[in-house]
């Protein structure tokens, strides 16, 4: 681990140099909000951004992704036999990703890189990327990362951590991948004030006033929280749209669909959402989560209880606050998490 200093005057040049070895992606303002885009020649990431409107999870798991192609033409010898899709696995540098969004990939990886099965699409995309994080000096009021196992200067999931220090960036290399990228960009001046990062980190963390409590989630009985009376109140306002799940960096659920055009077709996977009734509807019409309340409960139970129990590695949330900011009806995961964490079935006085 080394800390380099990058004069902002040399920044653009380094980005251009990196483009010869990597496809470079970075935050760019489109219409009103920022989004990660592949940067063309002389196109620069906007390192002054707050965060992207939607999470950058689509870089690794696109909303729509081809899995296989096939032909239905019976005159062809390979008819009805699926063929692999060639994937783009060229090295990519994701510049300026926020630490929470990079950490989210590690949470999602537990799902896609399981002991028994590995998802080749997700893993190939993820492994092709070098993540250059941008520490948050000014976290948003809805950020609660520090109590969600993450933080504004969180390093896990990053290859390089950049800290904006006025007229320059301090760049902390965290992995071999990170070292390779810094070398490709020609950023090789060692910083003589690396200690500054720690002070900036503490200052940023102290600005985060929003917190959740998660300490008692694991010890609780699943069925106790599941049967808690507060879910009806929590779910009332929910309109069952997919905003929370689609904007979330740690939601990974997907659907598989065949789409044909004439005699050829493609097997696709698309994002799906536990908020949608169709998600769990059986062919017979029976639906184990047919009611809105059941779906709202599933979303929070998955993130804050099932995931906690399954992996014993904290909650499935990094505290980015997107679902809170974007929910049309103000369902707030912080409130729900605290309710779950505090819930005691013995003490519960149910409303008559």
């Amino acid at each position: 681990m080394k800390v380099f200093t990058i004069d902002k005057k040399e920044w653009a040049l380094g980005i251009e140099k990196a483009k010869s070895a990597y496809q470079v992606l970075g935050p760019v303002k489109e219409k009103e909000w920022h989004c990660f885009k592949a940067l063309g020649k002389d196109e620069q990431p906007d390192m002054t951004y707050t965060n992207t409107r939607l999470s950058p999870k689509f870089l690794v798991q696109p909303q729509t992704e081809p899995m296989f192609t096939y032909t239905l033409d019976e005159s062809r010898p390979d008819h009805h036999i699926l063929k692999e899709v060639q994937e783009d696995v060229c090295p990519k540098a994701v510049i300026g990703i926020r630490p929470c969004d990079a950490a989210a990939f590690l949470l999602v990886k537990r799902n896609f890189d399981a002991p028994q099965y590995q998802d080749p699409y997700w893993l190939k995309a993820y492994n092709s990327m070098t993540f250059v994080g941008l520490a948050c000096n000014d976290p948003c009021p809805t950020c609660f990362c520090t109590s969600a196992g993450c933080g504004p200067f969180h390093e896990a999931g990053l290859d390089v951590l950049l800290v904006d220090s006025g007229d320059r960036f301090l760049a902390k290399s965290l992995t071999d991948k990170g070292i390779a990228l810094l070398a490709a960009a020609g950023w090789n001046s060692l910083a003589d004030d690396a200690g500054k990062i720690e002070a900036m980190k503490q200052a940023a963390e102290s600005r985060i006033a929003s917190r959740i409590s998660t300490d008692r989630l694991k010890a609780k009985e699943t069925t106790h929280i599941y049967d808690a009376p507060f879910w009806e109140d929590t779910a009332f306002s929910c309109i069952n749209c997919g905003t929370c799940t689609y904007s979330c960096p740690t939601c990974w659920c997907f659907d598989i669909q065949d789409e044909n055009r004439g005699n050829t077709g493609v097997r696709l996977r698309n994002w799906d959402s536990c908020m949608f009734p169709l998600f769990t509807m059986h062919g017979t019409g029976h639906n184990p989560r047919g009611a809105k309340m059941q779906r709202v409960r599933q979303r929070f139970m998955h993130k804050l209880k099932y995931y906690v129990d399954k992996y014993d590695n904290g909650i499935q949330c990094v505290g980015c606050g997107r679902c809170i900011r974007l929910c049309p009806v103000n369902i707030d995961i912080r409130k729900v998490c605290n309710q779950m964490n505090d819930y005691d079935p013995a003490a519960c006085v149910c409303p008559a």
């Binding site: 009805h80 036999i81 099965y117 080749p120 990974w252 998600f279 769990t280 062919g283 184990p288 989560r289």
Partner: protein, 281 residues
Amino acid sequence: MQNPYMPYPVRIDEIITETEDKNLKTFKFVFLDPEDEEKFAYKAGQFAELSVTGKGEIPIGIASSPTEKGFVKFTVNKVGLVSSFLHAMKVGDIMGLRGPLGNSYPWEALEGKNVVIIGGGFAFTTLRSSIVYMLDPANRSRFKDINVIYGARSPGMLLYRDELAAWERRDDIHMHITVDAANDPGWKYNVGFVPTITEQKAPEADADTFAIICGPPIMIKFTQPVLDKMGYAHDHIIMSLENRMKCGIGMCGRCNVGKEFVCKDGPVFTLAQLTNMPKEY
């Protein structure tokens, strides 16, 4: 990296219409590449995704037994988009098979034990697989008494009728076939719902006796109290769940019951396990 979403190409070798309402057909598949059959090594109780190219996939329990070689069999109920299309396919058509998926019935725990199989309606497929597996000459001595209680609405709705008749004639398996009502005067087996027949015919519970139940929710709902009354311990009652699935490998997120995925951690759970899980199936 092996792609777990890639099905093995198979050819439909035979289609048998099982029931009088023609809603259940058994499909016998042959692997286009014989090596794939070896890769598809399975245990009774597992399922696979039937991949109908251009329409999609459906998870279906494997009805053939690992002891049957050269083919795999699935009995499919016609309900949705894919199964309806599959019902219209012909012998010789090419499609895909992805699996085997899920856990299986706990064959190691069942070794040396009495096994009571309780099935209803079209949920008899993996139970057929289990029976054929246990009756195989190489396996029969590994299990003690085998009892089978299997019911359907009417004689014409029973699956695998020829095999049921053959098992009835054997003395190393106790068959208790039943129908809700019989209009056939020649019906020589039981009449009555599965829970009632279970109460009458199932052996008393002991530490060496396991029940495997598979059937419609209403049958399970009324059979479980009967087993309770007979003293079956909840970790001796084995059940197989169904939920909507897509990936079949615990990744797409929809089939969970609590923290368990029916596709990967199941579909087989003991009643003792299910007691501590939300009832989302």
